[in-house]
Amino acid sequence: MNFGFSEEQELLRATARKFFENECTSTFVRDRMAEPAGVTDDFWTKLAEQGWLGLVYPEEYGGTGLGFVDLTVLMEEMGRASMPGPFFSTVLLGGLAVLEAGSAAQKKEWVAKVAAGQAKIALAWTEPNARWDAAGVTVTAREAGGAFTLSGTKLFVLDAHLADAIVVVARTRESARPEEGITMFLVPRNASGLDVKLLPTMDQTRKQCEVTCKDVRVPADAIVGSKDSGWAPLQRVIDRATVGLAAEMCGGAQRVLDMTTEYAKIRVAFGRPIGAYQGVKHRAADMLVEVENAKSLTYYAAWAVDENSPEAPLAVSMAKAYVSDAFRRIAGAGIQLHGGIGFTWEHDLHLYFKRAKNSEFTFGDATYHRERVAQLIQL
């Protein structure tokens, strides 16, 4: 038994930290916040050159063939840097969906392009009903003459405005069991009737869109996986993407704790560094305990996903439930312990506070995942 990272993984962490310190500075992040793209071509190319866009993809599709434990290390560092851009949406949602369920031809075309930084794929799953269960999928895909027509609205779609193609989750058949009759389609971004609108969001480092399908016609070979049985592969994709998201949140939470600790050592009030006061020290200790627990559950989820363990869905939901609350509380405490400076636009704390809020509601908040835990432990 060994529940720690290998030397190679520690090396990846060191490399990534240095890379983001140089390439993803606060100035860079803030510039990206201010513009729709959220990323530069130059930065995206560098991610590709590092091999990070294909880190978890098999070598035959241009990837590195590493696992989710390795990805956890990388994404902790991305979260630490509050990295903007479509890494998560392209690599872990759109790209992973094609890899998980796509045909050989789709994988050959799209996965390799994502790994090389030549294409971006979004995943349009959630809708205005804001549900994360199968019943929430109401966008329809009607079959006629060997083709499908998609109609309806997707909401909270990450980075759809940057994508070359969008995997749209649609209902192809009404069924008493909502898990049945769901199909994934790979739709080109420029398909006729597909409208993408950028949404103004609290967290400006991660862009979200409304995606409207108005009689969007796609051929049958646009199906990713098989017709009517798209829910199971989608859940596998979401579970694995959630591991990455949780890791990113752990990295952000650790950064807030680090910033707060450093500040508490140098900020003097009543003649002493504020970190000497128990009102500050004890809250910092609480933050550490939550960071450590969040990491433990996230690492276990990453391991369970890599092992294809039957406990993986439970592990993922435990991690996401915990880290959703923890990151939010830690980011809030970080602002509190900084006092007035923590409330300014100039200080970076608000980037983490807002990212925590965005991440909390991405793929299920703590309440949703606790209920999923309750179901999985047969409560």
Partner: protein
């Protein structure tokens, strides 16, 4: 990262599981089982026999050296055995302070003679140990302790008082901290003694707790003459030795108490299944499901935070101040489990043993009350937060 076990470790798991199935005592009732952490007085005799059986079968002291009655195995084997003990809902270890604290400290600091004399009898429960740290005026500020030891030839003459001393009324020995140099700075002039509780001048007076039980005591030391060979780890070096004990205590908590926590949580889920509110089981209540799931998550978090700690140990690093985080998580989770048990029982939570209306014979009422001590014993939560703040995060001292 690999959480799987070797085939030898899997074989050990099968072996301990089979042994527990064959040997779990019939008289082990729910009533006795309710003591999820410290054994209750009425069970002492029974638990003494049980520990002896466990020891003879080789399930205690797995990481201890073979020459002192252990098996020389790694912390992974220790963890496997603890997990099986928990799954079987087996009785706790009576000599918990000896096994968790005194033994490892004597192995770390003792002379060969001390190790030969004491260690194996700790495992077999032939000799029970208690811990003489706290005093009426020295709790969290332990280094301010005033019990004095004055040299008189080959002996030390000890005077003072210890308090909150669990198991002292049945203990054969005490891990005693006493001041040997009153002129040194407070952390420097302390010595760690292995005190025979039967020496003249040792008086034990049980202290009744808010639970009504008397599991802890006051211990009065009145001109107790202790031979110089009973010093552990050198004169005036007691602070370092004592901290080692505390470190092992928190580590032992990580192993033993996480699995016991799981037993308690399973019991809580069972309770929620059978208690009804407005005509339906509480497990169907959405708010209750949220609370139970959160406790499940927190209990699992402790397990994996513990596994990260064990990995550090296996890589040759000593248990560090991170263990304080484990203790805090355990305390917080356990107290919330006990609070939720009361909430689940509703108005029935008020009834204690003796009432036919009491749920589960009033078992949870005792564990609920007992859990208040968790955030005080073995270092208060406030002290753990100081340790984390100062020694892990590097914040300035108060």
């Amino acid at each position: 990262m690999d959480l799987s076990l070797t085939s030898e470790q899997e074989a050990l798991r099968a072996e301990v599981r089979a042994w527990l199935q064959a040997n779990m005592p019939r008289e082990w009732t729910r009533r006795v089982m309710a003591s999820s952490d410290v054994p209750r007085p009425e069970a002492y005799d029974f638990l003494r026999t049980w520990q002896r059986q466990m020891y003879e079968a080789g399930w205690i002291g797995l990481t201890w050296p073979r020459e002192y009655g252990g098996r020389g195995l790694s912390f992974v084997e220790e963890l496997v055995v603890h997990q099986e003990i928990a799954l079987a809902k087996a009785p706790p270890i009576l000599n918990i302070l000896g096994v968790g604290m005194a033994g490892p400290t004597i192995i770390a600091y003792g002379t060969d003679e001390q190790k030969r004399r004491y260690v194996s009898k700790i495992l077999s429960c032939e000799e029970i140990w208690c811990q003489g740290y706290s005093e009426p005026n020295s709790g969290s500020d332990l280094a301010s302790l005033q019990t004095r030891a004055v040299k008189d030839g080959e002996y030390w003459v000890i005077n003072g008082q210890k308090v909150w001393t669990s198991l002292a009324h049945v203990a054969d020995f005490m891990m005693l901290l006493a001041r040997t140099d009153p002129n040194a700075p407070k952390h420097k002039g302390i010595t760690y003694f292995l005190l025979d509780m039967r020496l003249p001048g040792v008086t034990v007076k049980p202290l009744r707790q808010l639970t009504g039980d008397a599991e802890f005591n006051e211990v009065f030391l009145d001109n107790v003459r202790v031979h110089g060979s009973q010093v552990l780890g050198g004169v005036d070096n007691g602070w370092a030795v004592g901290l080692t004990t505390l470190m092992y205590e928190r580590l032992a908590l990580g192993f033993g108490l996480q699995v016991r926590l799981r037993i308690t949580l399973d019991g809580l889920v069972e309770l929620a299944r059978k208690m009804e509110k407005n005509g339906r089981a509480l497990t169907h209540d959405p708010v209750m499901r949220q609370k139970l799931a959160q406790l499940w998550i927190d209990t699992e978090a402790l397990k994996y935070t513990g596994a990260r700690g064990i990995t550090k140990l296996l890589r040759g690093q000593m248990p560090g101040p991170e263990a304080s985080a484990g203790k805090m998580i355990w305390v917080d989770t356990h107290q919330r489990i006990q609070e939720l048990a009361m909430e689940i029982e509703g108005p029935y939570a008020q009834l204690t043993p003796g009432s036919d209306w009491a749920v589960d014979g009033g078992m949870w009422q005792y564990t609920f009350l007992r859990s208040r001590a968790n955030s005080i014993e073995g270092g208060t939560t406030e002290i753990q937060k100081n340790i984390i703040g100062e020694r892990v995060l590097g914040l300035p001292k108060d």
